[in-house]
């Protein structure tokens, strides 16, 4: 199957071609959304950070926003600044421009409020949309793909059917030279010894234990019992009893490949193959981390059902629960409950997912895309709000 995508100056390939309206701070989010509403092929990100943040949290936000702008699915970026935020809009634009795509900044306080900024923004974004529509399309290879994998609203079918099938698809991507990122450090708790054994080196293995310990300590430091949130009430209703059980089911989506490295949140992999990113388990933050790290496509397994999309990246949703698929056929792309019914092997279902990835990579819209479901692009933070 020939894959056709959008060639970028840094050698990467986009499977989509959007103008990104990037709010450098939550305060400019609404202006960014209004501009995007007026321009065909423009997408705005909704997030809640960028100001009154300090140290590591500010660094994470700055790095994440730059990564989102650099994502290969984005052809041009219009940074929408409030004018007084902690994030440096100039540094953000410079970091994005390094990969060779058009970037401009508009500032609400300079232009004089919503009306003027929206008018100016629409004019710039419209021009950008027209420019990037002429970007050369090129044939590309699976080795140009980075896939982010995540599970949400899990139930007992996730660990038995959808996650193992995604594991097969993940192995296929990697065997064909591609890159896969998984995360959800909270859901490595209780399964870290299994994942660490698959590390390519002792240093990577050590780092896996470190990120899990760091996450577990964060819960202890704030004096909470993580069992209060994990598993979630929905997980428990679906039959998942403990965090360890959830974790053991979760890691099956990472297949059997060696783990090449551990990434900090929103960091891009340095090579090809399988990577772990230190992300929370919560969806919007985890997906944002993968997209900022360069993922052009996201796989999302669900047991109880989810409507997840992402503004600039197609999300392929997969369930192993036939009832959920029947109820949410308009939202969930693939049904692999055939594994539970014994009608299809995990291998066969995994190959079906792999084929769907290739179709989506070549332009097939996912169900979330065809519904226009995007979802928030929340950014991870570690500290408190002051």
């Amino acid at each position: 199957m020939e894959l056709i995508g959008y060639e970028r100056d840094d050698g990467s390939v986009g499977v989509r071609n959007y103008v990104l309206l990037l709010p450098s701070v939550t305060c400019s989010m609404e202006v960014a959304m209004r501009i995007a509403n007026h321009v065909e092929g423009a997408k705005a990100l909704i997030h809640h950070q960028g100001c009154i943040q300090m140290g590591l949290d500010l660094e994470i936000t700055q790095r994440t926003l730059a990564g989102l702008g650099r994502n290969p699915n984005v052809g041009a970026v219009l940074v929408v600044s409030q004018g007084c935020e902690s994030v440096s809009a100039e540094r953000l634009a410079d970091d994005i421009a390094k990969v060779g795509k058009p970037v401009e900044i508009i500032t609400i306080q300079e232009l004089g409020g919503v009306v003027k900024t929206v008018a100016r923004g629409v004019s710039i974004a419209r021009k950008m949309a027209q420019e990037i529509s002429q970007i050369k399309r090129k044939s590309f290879d699976v080795s140009d793909l980075t896939i982010g994998i995540k599970c949400g609203a899990s139930d007992a079918t996730s660990g038995i059917a959808s996650n193992p099938a995604v594991g097969v698809a993940s192995d296929n991507i990697i065997n064909n030279g591609g890159t896969v990122i998984f995360g959800e450090t909270t859901e490595l708790i209780g399964a870290e010894h299994i994942i660490a054994k698959r590390a390519v080196s002792d240093a990577v293995s050590k780092k896996i234990y470190e990120i899990v310990e760091r996450m577990e300590n964060r819960a202890k430091e704030v004096g909470v019992d993580m069992r209060g949130t994990q598993p979630t009430p929905g997980n428990i209703k679906g039959g998942l009893t403990t965090l360890e059980e959830k974790s053991l089911g979760t890691i099956r989506k990472a297949g059997t490949s060696l783990i090449e490295g551990v990434l900090e949140y929103a960091e891009s992999p340095k090579g090809k193959g399988l990577y772990i990113m230190d992300t929370p388990g919560r969806e919007p933050e985890a997906l944002t981390g993968f997209v900022a790290g360069g993922a052009q496509i996201l796989l999302f397994t669900t047991g109880r059902g989810a409507t997840q999309g992402y503004p600039i990246v197609p999300v392929i949703k997969i369930t192993g629960n036939s009832e959920t698929y029947k109820k949410m056929t308009d939202d969930i792309d693939l049904d692999v409950s055939s594994i539970i019914e014994g009608k299809e092997t995990i291998e066969e279902a995994g190959n079906r997912i792999y084929l769907e990835i290739l179709k989506v990579a070549s332009g097939k819209k996912t169900k979330a895309e065809s519904l226009g479901c995007a979802g928030p692009a929340d950014i991870y933070r570690i500290g408190h709000t002051f």
């Binding site: 139930d155 007992a156 079918t157 660990g159 038995i160 909270t186 708790i189 209780g190 399964a191 299994i194 577990e216 819960a219 202890k220 019992d225 993580m226 069992r227 994990q230 428990i236 679906g238 039959g239 998942l240 009893t241 403990t242 965090l243 360890e244 059980e245 053991l248 089911g249 047991g303 629960n321 009832e323 539970i340 019914e341 014994g342």
Partner: protein, 91 residues
């Protein structure tokens, strides 16, 4: 269709692939061994039942790995969930 699945031969619980009625006898495969277990209560879809007696404090095993410990003795065929299993992590 199988009514319950044992993922690893070391497991002491099975996962229901359909709702199992109270008193129903289900056939399960543990590796190559086939065993009949009588459900002591209704086991909802996706939930677990003990395939052998699990003593209080003993590890509950699924995927061949520890998923928690029994907070009281769980009899064979009994629903194994948050009322009789607790996590040992993240606190």
């Amino acid at each position: 269709m199988r009514k319950a699945i044992v993922i690893d031969s070391k497991d002491n619980v099975a996962t229901a692939l359909t709702e199992i009625s109270s008193g129903e006898v289900v056939e399960i495969k543990i590796g190559k061994i086939v065993k009949n277990i009588q459900a002591k209560s209704t086991i909802p879809f996706g939930h677990k039942l003990a395939i052998k007696r699990i003593e209080k404090g003993e590890a509950v095993i699924k995927y061949g790995e520890t998923i928690g410990r029994a907070t009281r003795t769980i009899e064979e065929g009994e629903h194994a969930h948050i009322h009789n299993i607790e996590s040992t992590r993240g606190r």
